[in-house]
């Protein structure tokens, strides 16, 4: 069962590589997406047993993230068909193959319960997403891919270094050598503390680079700016969450070792710093895709800030992870449509989106309010939960900073997006034939409806899953 979730997209990837027709090949994406979604629903409704001696396992956190990733991928795969139809002049064999290997590797990250296997899976996501960034074959996209690989590979190397430190702390304590997360958490109180501290810092830096936390975020604006919108949605809504999962796993180990306070300090500090950096770069941002990348830096900051604050904020943070994934679907896919229609991602070239692409324009506008945490959308709820977590903990300075960063970011994003959607299309910019279509529109609508629905009513099943996952993250020394 768990293996199938990985094997099905991989099999489709092999098929995509073999299919010779450029027009037919993209249809394999929704096929894989649907199959993955069906398997996911089955796995969530009756939890599968661990496989390969516990190396593959679906725990509380994994269930949450698997559901989100599978849904995100299904909708993105439908959009990708419409996108690739419009970009028919370009060979898409490598793109489709990589776009099918990528979700398989994300699933592997979510399911892997072994320190080494998870590292391998994260490395595989990096390698399989690189061809996606280079789809346009322009010098700028080459530059973005080069930076993505270089910064990402250093992050992954540092994460391996941290994994060695963690392993050594077990070795020094004379513990077992299984390196399964469950065993590490159980034996955590005995781990050698100096090694554990160093390991957490290194692992946080390494996987934080994959999350795109400041100051290790430098690959993000370039990668999201140059990649097709659908790839941006999958990276910002899927891959960064997988890296967040990795950070959570090591936070759990630290917490079980009784060193939670040490880890939380780091998480709060780096979370606020990411929000600050994002706020600075979001003001007067002239490139709307880069603006979305900084927004992603901000969202990642919010996620780890929530974990660092502890208590109710952990629930808020995990809820925000779901919302963030869904919102990325709205904003990146809408931005992709605007980019297709105008052939430019500079704000001075694009105006009157509501007139030229009415549907996409409205969705983009709605995405702006959702992503900045306005009611009645779901991010409002999750951000308020994190805020109340800060206030309840008596951390008023952090709550104040959090609110002021949110405000600055709202102003920065609103200025950019409002300029895009209002007015009339400039006569200077010719634009392309691209118009709103079903395949490139319906997925955005579904994402937007979900963000709205979750803001009005959180289903009991989801709330229960979130509570269980939050309790699982916070589980202290046993």
């Amino acid at each position: 069962m768990l293996v199938l979730l990985i094997a099905v997209p991989l099999a489709c990837a092999a098929a995509a590589f073999a299919v010779p027709w450029n027009r037919v090949r993209p249809w394999l994406l929704p096929v894989a997406g649907t199959a993955h979604f069906a398997l996911m629903v089955r796995a969530l409704s009756n939890p599968p047993a661990p496989e390969y001696g516990g190396w593959l396992l679906l725990d509380q956190l994994g269930r949450l993230l698997l559901g989100l990733t599978s849904l995100l991928y299904l909708l993105c795969s439908v959009y990708a068909v419409g996108y690739l139809r419009f970009r028919d002049e370009r060979p898409n064999r490598l793109f489709c193959t990589a776009l099918l290997v990528f979700p398989a590797m994300m699933t592997l990250v979510i399911e892997s319960h072994h320190l080494g296997l998870m590292w391998v899976a994260i490395e595989a996501t990096t390698l399989s997403s690189a061809p996606l960034l280079y789809f346009n074959r322009t010098p700028r996209s080459l530059e973005a891919t080069w930076k993505y690989l270089l910064v990402g590979s250093v992050g992954i190397a540092i994460a391996l270094f941290g994994s060695f430190f963690l392993a050594y702390s077990a070795l020094h304590a004379g513990l077992g050598t299984s390196l399964l997360f469950d065993d590490l958490i159980r034996e955590a109180p005995q781990l050698s503390k100096p090694w554990l501290h160093a390991a957490f810092v290194l692992l946080f830096c390494g996987y934080g680079t994959k999350m795109g936390l400041a100051p290790m975020h430098t690959w993000k604006p370039d990668a999201y700016g140059e990649a097709p919108g659908v790839v941006g949605a999958l990276l910002a809504g899927g891959l960064t969450n997988c890296a967040f999962l990795a950070v959570l796993r090591f936070y759990q180990i630290c917490n079980s070792a009784g060193e939670g306070a040490f880890a939380r300090e780091i998480l709060v500090l780096m979370g606020l710093f990411s929000m600050a950096v994002a706020a600075v770069f979001m003001i007067r941002q002239r490139d709307y895709k880069r603006m979305l990348a900084y927004s992603s830096v901000e969202q990642m900051g919010i996620l780890i800030l929530g974990i660092g604050l502890g208590g109710p904020a952990v629930f808020g943070s995990l809820f925000h992870m779901i919302n963030n994934g869904l919102m990325k679907g709205v904003t990146f896919l809408a931005a992709g449509n605007v980019h297709r229609a105008y052939g430019s991602k500079r704000t001075e070239d694009v105006s009157g989106t509501l007139w030229r692409l009415p549907f996409t324009g409205w969705m983009f506008l709605l995405g702006l309010f959702a992503i900045t945490g306005s009611p009645p959308f779901a991010p409002f709820l999750s951000e308020m939960t994190i805020l109340s977590g800060a206030v309840q903990g008596g951390r008023y300075v952090i709550a104040g900073l959090f609110l002021s960063f949110l405000l600055v970011i709202f102003l920065g994003m609103a200025a950019t997006i409002l300029a895009l959607v209002q007015g009339r299309p400039s006569a200077r910019v010719e634009g392309t034939k691209f118009r709103d279509g079903f395949l490139t529109g319906a997925p955005i609508l579904v994402f937007a409806l979900l963000v709205l629905l979750l803001g009005v009513h959180v289903p009991a099943g989801l709330e229960k899953a979130l509570r269980e996952a939050a309790a699982f993250v916070e589980r202290g020394p046993q």
């Binding site: 490395e123 010098p139 080069w146 690989l149 250093v154 190397a157 270094f161 060695f164 050594y168 090694w195």
Partner: protein, 213 residues
């Protein structure tokens, strides 16, 4: 095993300094290759009795780090017609001083980490930290793409040194480290067949600055 390891670790540290001070690409690539071979040799020294698995790790390390990757780098260097690092962001003498400071800090930091019985009195931990920092320094302060890849290679070697202490207990974790070499191969392939040399007319990543704030 300890007595033979330390002189080799000192050799690794010396190669670090050599890489920080040299400007000729060929020399730095050769230095990294020798470092890789020394590391592979150390795998055999760490194990008391030799079985097939450590022999394979040693063989793979020596083959990849000592021969395959350096040969690829040499080819990439010829393809791009670049011989030396001309204007590093941080000059060679300051790099050496920074490298010395990094090594000193590594020794101090390593003192705070308690060691397992079998590693007492060895230079493994400070050598590993210092080599990682050296690799990071080369990676971040050099402009030529090939030089940056060599920096990454050195960083990887540093991680491998720490891996030596885990090799007996957790071989799987150390073995997957070989996958880092995949990145190196991708970079070198990128330089060779992709268009970094073609479209930027030199392998100076300083040209890769269209995407700036």
């Amino acid at each position: 095993m300890g007595n033979a390891l330390d002189p080799l670790l000192v050799a690794v540290l010396l190669i670090n300094f050599f890489s920080l001070g040299a400007s000729r690409l060929r020399a730095v690539i050769n230095g990294a290759a020798v470092q890789g071979i020394v590391l592979g040799g150390m795998v055999l020294l760490v194990h008391e009795q030799l079985s097939l698995r450590p022999m394979l790790v040693a063989g793979a390390a020596i083959l990849l780090k000592g021969f395959v990757i350096p040969a690829m780098l040499m080819r990439a260097m010829r393809a791009a017609a670049i011989r030396r690092e001309v204007e590093p962001l941080v000059g060679f003498i300051p790099s050496l001083l920074l490298g010395a400071a990094a090594t000193g800090l590594s020794l101090v930091f390593a003192k705070t980490l308690p060691l397992a019985e079998q590693h007492r009195g060895l230079l493994l931990i400070p050598a590993s930290l210092s080599t990682v920092l050296t690799g990071f320094l080369v990676l971040t302060t050099r402009r030529k793409a090939i030089m940056q890849v060599v920096g990454y290679l050195i960083l990887e070697n540093g991680i491998f040194i720490l891996g030596l202490s885990l090799l007996e207990a957790m071989p799987f974790l150390v073995e997957i480290g070989v996958l880092l070499d995949l990145f190196v191969c991708v970079f070198v392939l990128g330089i060779m067949i992709h268009h970094i040399s073609r479209e930027f007319s030199s392998l100076d990543t300083g040209h890769l600055t269209a995407l700036k704030e």
